[in-house]
Every structure is written in C-alpha cells, then in structure tokens.
Subunit: 214 residues, 2 copies
Amino acid sequence: MARPLTARQQTVYDFIVKTMTELGYPPTRAEIARALGFRSPNAAEEHLRALDRKGVIRMIPGTSRGIRLPGGSPEGEPAAVDSGLPIVGSVAAGSPILAAEHIDRYCPLPADYFSPRADYLLRVRGLSMKDVGILDGDLLAVHRTQQVRDGQIVVARLEDDVTVKRFQRDGNHVTLLAENPDFAPIEIDLAHQHLEIEGLGVGVIRGDNGSGLG
Amino acid sequence: MARPLTARQQTVYDFIVKTMTELGYPPTRAEIARALGFRSPNAAEEHLRALDRKGVIRMIPGTSRGIRLPGGSPEGEPAAVDSGLPIVGSVAAGSPILAAEHIDRYCPLPADYFSPRADYLLRVRGLSMKDVGILDGDLLAVHRTQQVRDGQIVVARLEDDVTVKRFQRDGNHVTLLAENPDFAPIEIDLAHQHLEIEGLGVGVIRGDNGSGLG
DNA sequence: ACAATGACTGGATACAATCCCAGGCTGTAT
DNA sequence: ATACAGCCTGGGATTGTATCCAGTCATTGT
C-alpha cells in the first residue's frame, strides 16, 4: 500500500530529485545529511529505506550513490490507452477519480503526448485558475502521482472534495493557491487534516464545445 | 580545441551515457574497466581524463561517480508523428501559414476532435489573449475559414503580420480586440487597409513542455 | 632515432560511502 | 500502560572508489 510520504520523507525525496537533475547523479547519505542538517548520515539512511519501502525510490545495495527513481508513478496502473485518454467529469464524494461511472468519454490523444504522461483528463469547473489559463469547462490533463513540488498545478482531494490548485508546502503546512484574486488560498495543517494528492496537471485542452472559441 | 575522440574513447563515452540513462547514475572506474574488459581501473581513469580534457565530460574530483555530461541531460525527443494536425510555429511575412517550412511537427489528434474541424495548430506568441486563457506557447487549433462572426477568436493577417484576436465588425470598420488590458485594440478601415482572415480559433492545447504546468 | 601519445597491466593507498549497532525522543495507536 | 513508527545522534566495521606510481607495448610524427 502506498501510504503517502511524510513531510520529512518528501523533503528527502525532493532533494534527491533536485540533485539528480542538477548534478546528474544521486546524492550520498552524507550529502543528504549535510543538506538537510542531520548530524548523522544514518538519519538519511533511514529515510532512504522508508522511501524504498514506499516504492518511490530504489536502493541498490553496496553501491555508492545507488539510488534510482523508478520510471512511471508508484502504483498507478497505466490507463487504458486503446481508446485514448478517459475524460472525467464531476467526481462523486469519496469515490476514486477513475471509477467507471465518472468517465464521460475518451479523447483520442496518446497518453505520452504530454510529459510526464497524462493518465486522464479532468473537466475543470469554475474559474479559480483562470489566471494560468485554465477556464471553466477546460480539460486538465493529469498525471497520476503523489510526488508534486512547490508551485506545480495539482489535483488534490480535501475532505472528499476534488480541486485543482497550485501547490505549496512548508513542512507540515500546505497551501493550495487559486490563480484568481477572487478566490482565497486554502490552508491545510497536515497534522489535523487529510490531504490526498491525486495527480499533477501536465496539460490543458479546450474547445470541444462546438462553434469556435468566444 | 576539441580534437575528435579516438575510437576507444568513444566506446568509453558511450558506456557512460548508456549507464546514466539506464541506471540513473554514472559508472565508477571499476565498472567501466569491467564492462570494457580492462584489467585495471587505471585504464578507465586515463580515458576519463582524456574525455575531460576534450570537454565531453566533466570530472568532479574526490567524488564517487563524479562524472557529468555538460550541456544538459540527453532527453528522448518525441517520435515525429507524420499524421495528425500540423503544428505551425512562427510564420514568415508574406508566406502562407501552411507552407512546409513553418510546420514544426505534428500533433496526433484527429482534425474532427474539434468542431468545427481544426486544420492546423498555431503556436501562440505573447500574452495578448491571456484573459481568455490563451497563454504564450499555447497551441491554438484553427479552422480555416473566412466566415467569422463578431466576438469570435480569429487568426488574422494584417500587413503580413499574423495575429490572434477577438473579431468585431461594424460595416467597413473592423476592431481586433486583445484580451489583456495591457494591449490596445487594433482598428482597421477596410477601405484603406487589407485584412485577411486566416481562420477561426476552435480550441487550445497546452502542455507539451515537459515537467508539469506551473 | 627520438620523443610524445594512446592504451593498457599491476599494485598500493587513503578517503568515500554503505551499512550495522546502540541508544534517545516524540508522537499515535492499542 | 505498552507497543510501535518516525526521526534523530553517535560510533564503527567493512567495502567501494578515486587516484597515484611504476612499468610495457605499439603507433605516430619529427
């Protein structure tokens, strides 16, 4: 079961990703410890084991810098690609997004047109993200993952409610920012509230309405 | 300058690239030696020095697996699809939009996904239409037609310049409205200026950039 | 003939890095 | 109360790795 990462584990994971993209190779335990302020490399070791257990990284025993980021998201089964990307309309409270009854129709676009790969298209309701060009009725291409970084557009589920917002985390505190001055940010304390990240916004499609934009 | 690599050095370099793309981290001297049949890691060390001298890799002293490939990580480019909608980048003055030299690549989406049918995708530059959710770099799906109505988003050519604007006509007078308070409307007197309507905006696609929206 | 370079073998050393053990502290679940 | 997981300090054994030194052999340019 993919229990979500703890805040600290997420920090470690983020540092690994950052190191690998910036330097081209993964960090050592000592480097992780130094970067996050641990006085012992063992703290990093234990975090790595946890991340490995949860499947977001792979440790290669006995190998220096032996950390791998397995391709694809942790346990997201690849969406049925045959007929294209499923288009999800409104999501009922408490049920998984990709439940069959939510699937409206399919968009004949290959999943890997977007990068990272899109797993489904979510029809966006409301104008809370209009300043980043996501309008009412648009289709948001979503990559299923729990690994999201600050500033990214995410699909989140908060108390059975699915929303699209910009993600920002500070330790145990998460802020979901709208991109529209008419909407207030949503503040979440992870210690007291449950927040589930459903995926990462990777694209937008608009225009199946029928008579041109306007 | 950059003397070309010897055959053996090329082999070593290829192995480094292969290792990094397959494993996610660079090889050690010993691993290179093992892979290429050297009986001493020093042979690998000397090759690495040569590759560093010639600038194709960068060695980080004292660091295990401290090998970097300068000039960005090798990214797999998306396979060129020769079917689907042509994507048009910048359009040279005075030439038809669908001239072959403007076609960047193709988007594997059927033309009739949009309605009315899209004939090509135009990459939009600038933020003049940001208030209707068309941002810089977005792909505008365009239906080729001259029959446009007031209020529609159109692709127009004015004095060899191709722009995307909202269309408004009053007798012989046309106004092309931006959807961004920072941009002034363009006023055109059809009796004195030539305006060509290239098509009607029927959709928007965003998100072929590579790492999520944000 | 000579030096310079590329391509190695073989051996050695010191540090880099993984990984195990023994704790402590704070929560949350049972 | 007790147990357990997450998160951390501190130390230490063992192995992984970078890096140096001393040679050999062939090729190439001078």
